[in-house]
Each structure stands twice: as C-alpha cells, then as structure tokens.
C-alpha cells in the first residue's frame, strides 16, 4: 500500500489530463490568491516603503556580499529551521507541518506528472511520510498549541476564519490519507479530497496561506535592519559589552553571573 501510486487508479478512470489540469488550476489559484492578498491589503507597498525609510536612516551601508550572507542566514535559520519561533513546541509542530507539506506537494506533482497511471518508486512512500508529518504537526497545533486555546482558554473545537488554512490543509491531507488507504479510486472520498484541496488552494486570499511568502521577506528585512544599525529602533546595548559594564547603572550586576536563567519565560503563557 505504501509503495503504490494512489493517483494511478483514479487517473485511469478519469478523463485523460484531468489531474494535470487540476494541479495547474490549483497553482494558478495560489498565484492569483497571493497577488490579490498583497494588492488588496497593500502589504507589499507598505513593506517596501518601510524598508526604504529604514535604509535611509541606516548608520552604515550594507554591501551586496553582506546582503547575500544575510539572505543565506535568513534561508537557513528563519525559513528552513523556523528560527523565529520562541516556543519549542510551536517550532517543532511548524517544522513537521512545513516539511510534510513540501514533501506532500512535491510527491503529488511527481506522481501525477511523471508517473501517470504507473507505479512510482519511493515517491508514494514519501507522499505517505509527508502527509503523516502534516497530520502530526497540524493536529498537535490544532488541539494543544494554538494561542486562543493555550492562552485564551477557548475550546479547541471552536472554528474561526483564522482556521481556514490549517483546517483545510488537515481536511485535505486526512481525506487524502483515508482515500489512499482504501486503495484510491474516484468515489465520494476522492470528491471530498478534491473539495478540501480546492478550499485550501483557492482560499489563499482569505487564509494565512500567503505567510510562507511574506514571512521570509519580513525576516530578511529584520536582519538587514540589524546589519545597517537601525535595528528597527530597538536598543542594541547589552551587558556583554565591556564599555556598558562600566556604567553606573550596571554597578549591581558587577559580580552577578552572566546568565541569570529564565524569569517569566520559565512558564508557558497560559495564565489567562
């Protein structure tokens, strides 16, 4: 079962080229949704205006080589390792869902375009691993980690528009797994799977799907502002600097340990 291409039987029953046409349509829906989202909210316009303003205030020029190094750091730390999360559980759940989603989408495209109606080596196994990884991260987040459940005390079963992305993703993947488990085919399960997938990709303008495009841009901008000295106007002085250790205000910390441990962050924020 884990080695069989679940799309092969369905593609034999469906009109030729249907699945390829459907995947193309979903890619177009994502592109249209992201463009609409950016235009409607004017987020890109605001982002670039803010970036220009920040650069004008910069204390030093950031060169091309440095920009490349910042881009590489953003890609490795903020994107590939989800470094922005301070909550370890959220970070792990995000990594599981993100990598699961990438593997799931890539293997779906490979099975549909490269192995239509034929068994595909390893790819179906990866499809299963990706889908299970999405379910593990997604359901963990949905039931236990969500801020309005963990910090606001709301019921984990309460549905809001903010849930459109995670719920349509989980519905699509869960239905896909059940459909594949039952051997594929073109019955009602397949229709439900397609419906949930359509909601996921066609709902980009109303869901937080587009965060995968603008979050890396925001993380890059944050690093550039640190490099050019503006640091989003945040203080940059720290106790590690020997000059700062001489300050009158640092008198009391002269003999104190370098690491004071965690204070309020020792406990998860769930004292609503």
């Amino acid at each position: 079962m884990f080695g069989n291409n679940p799309f092969a039987p369905a593609m034999q029953s469906l009109p030729s080229g249907f699945m390829e046409w459907y995947l193309g349509l979903m890619v177009a829906a994502v592109v249209a949704g992201v463009v609409f989202d950016i235009t409607h909210k004017a987020s890109a316009k605001y982002f670039f205006a803010n970036m220009k303003k920040s650069r004008a205030k910069g204390k030093r020029e950031v060169g091309g080589g440095e920009l490349l190094s910042i881009a590489a750091k953003t890609a490795v730390v903020d994107v590939l390792a989800s470094g922005e999360f301070c909550n370890t559980r959220r970070r792990i759940a995000h990594l599981l869902t993100m990598y699961g989603f990438l593997v799931y989408v890539a293997t779906t495209a490979i099975m549909v375009f490269s192995y239509p109606g034929a068994p595909a080596p390893i790819v179906p196994t990866l499809w299963w691993i990706g889908a299970i990884s999405i379910c593990a991260g997604g359901y963990w987040f949905w039931f236990f980690i969500r801020a309005d459940v963990a910090a606001e005390g709301n019921s984990p079963l309460r549905l809001m528009r903010a849930d459109l992305f995670v719920l349509s993703l989980l519905a699509s993947v869960t239905l896909g797994l059940i459909w594949a488990w039952r051997g594929g085919g073109t019955g009602w399960l397949f229709l439900s799977y397609l419906l949930a997938t359509t909601v996921l990709f066609a709902g980009v303008a109303w869901s937080k799907f587009a965060h995968m495009f603008f979050k890396p841009a925001a993380a890059f901008e944050k690093r550039v502002s640190r490099a050019d000295g503006t640091a989003e106007n945040l203080p940059t002085q720290t106790r590690d600097d020997p000059e700062q250790q001489k300050r009158h205000s640092m008198e009391l910390l002269r003999d104190a340990p370098r690491d004071m441990g965690l204070g309020i962050k020792r406990e998860a924020p769930r004292h609503y």
């Binding site: 301070c86 910090a151 903010a162 925001a218 924020p269 769930r270 609503y272």
Partner: protein
C-alpha cells in the same frame, strides 16, 4: 498612547495576553495575532511591550520625555538580567539606557515564608513591615546612602 501590535512580527505566542494587568491584550479571532481590545483602558505600563519575545508591541512614549515623532523601544533580556531602552528623538538624537532587572539568578531569592516563624503580637502591633528593618539594612548602621556606597549624585540625572 496605548499599545499597538505590529501584526507581521507577532507570532501569537500569548505572552502579552498572560501578562497584561488590565487583561486587554487578546488574540484576534481572525488573524490569530495579539491586539489591544480596549485601548482606552491601557495604562501604558509597558508590561506587554517588555514581555513580547518578538518585539512586536510598541507604545508611543509620553510627550513629556519624548515629543511627537520620536521612537521609544525596549529590550528586556531576562537571561542577562537587564533591560535596555532606546529613545530616538525627531531631530535624530538618541538616548540609550541599560539597567538591571535582577541581581540574582531568577527564582533563587524567593522568600520561604512557610519556614519563617509566625510574628509575635509585638511585631504585629509595630509599624514595621515584614523583614524590616533587616532587609533595608537600618540595623547595620543607619540608612544606606549614595555617599556610603562611594557613589556621587550625577548632575542632570536626577532633577
């Protein structure tokens, strides 16, 4: 001015919801990001601004220390035991402050009140508070002053 949240920086972790003494920082039901539900009730205590790990919450400072067009930002680094402030004035001037927020590792100096003997009637009737005068060191030769500690009052800092 009350607090406001930079939505692209907030990751909805809930630290501000947890710490707000007015209980007015909540998670938005649509975007799942924090926001101030009742700005009129905000005391501008800066608790959420300091607690936010993403520096996603900001407040416009009071006009008496930073007139319009300024920026007041804070970085509370509890592992280093410090808090840093940076005020940027509209004419480009900058003021930086760095102060301790603890002098001992967190959680190591919590009084064990259960082990302390109950106060006598004489102590109850006294004007002194718990641990006085010991912890304000009045019993070690009077009130502690800057002079005792070998410090000087800096001109322009206190007025």
């Amino acid at each position: 001015m009350p607090t406001f949240v930079y939505m692209t920086r907030c990751d909805g972790c809930g630290h501000c919801v947890d710490i707000c003494p007015s209980d007015i920082m909540h998670i938005d039901e649509t975007t799942r990001r924090a926001y101030n539900i009742e700005p009129n009730m905000c005391w501008e205590c800066y608790s959420c601004v300091k607690a936010c790990p993403q520096h996603a919450i900001d407040v416009r400072g009071y006009a008496d220390f930073a007139p319009l067009g300024h920026s007041v930002r804070v970085d509370r680094d509890e592992q280093k035991g410090t808090i840093a402030w940076k005020i940027m004035f509209r004419d480009g001037r900058e003021k930086n402050f760095l102060s301790p927020i603890t002098t001992k590792p967190w959680g190591t100096a919590i009084p064990k009140l259960a082990d302390v003997p109950a106060p006598s009637q004489e102590v109850r009737d006294s004007q002194l508070l718990y641990s006085e005068p010991k912890y304000i060191r009045l019993d070690e030769g009077g009130l502690r002053t800057l002079k005792d500690a070998g410090l000087k009052l800096k001109k322009g800092v206190y007025y």
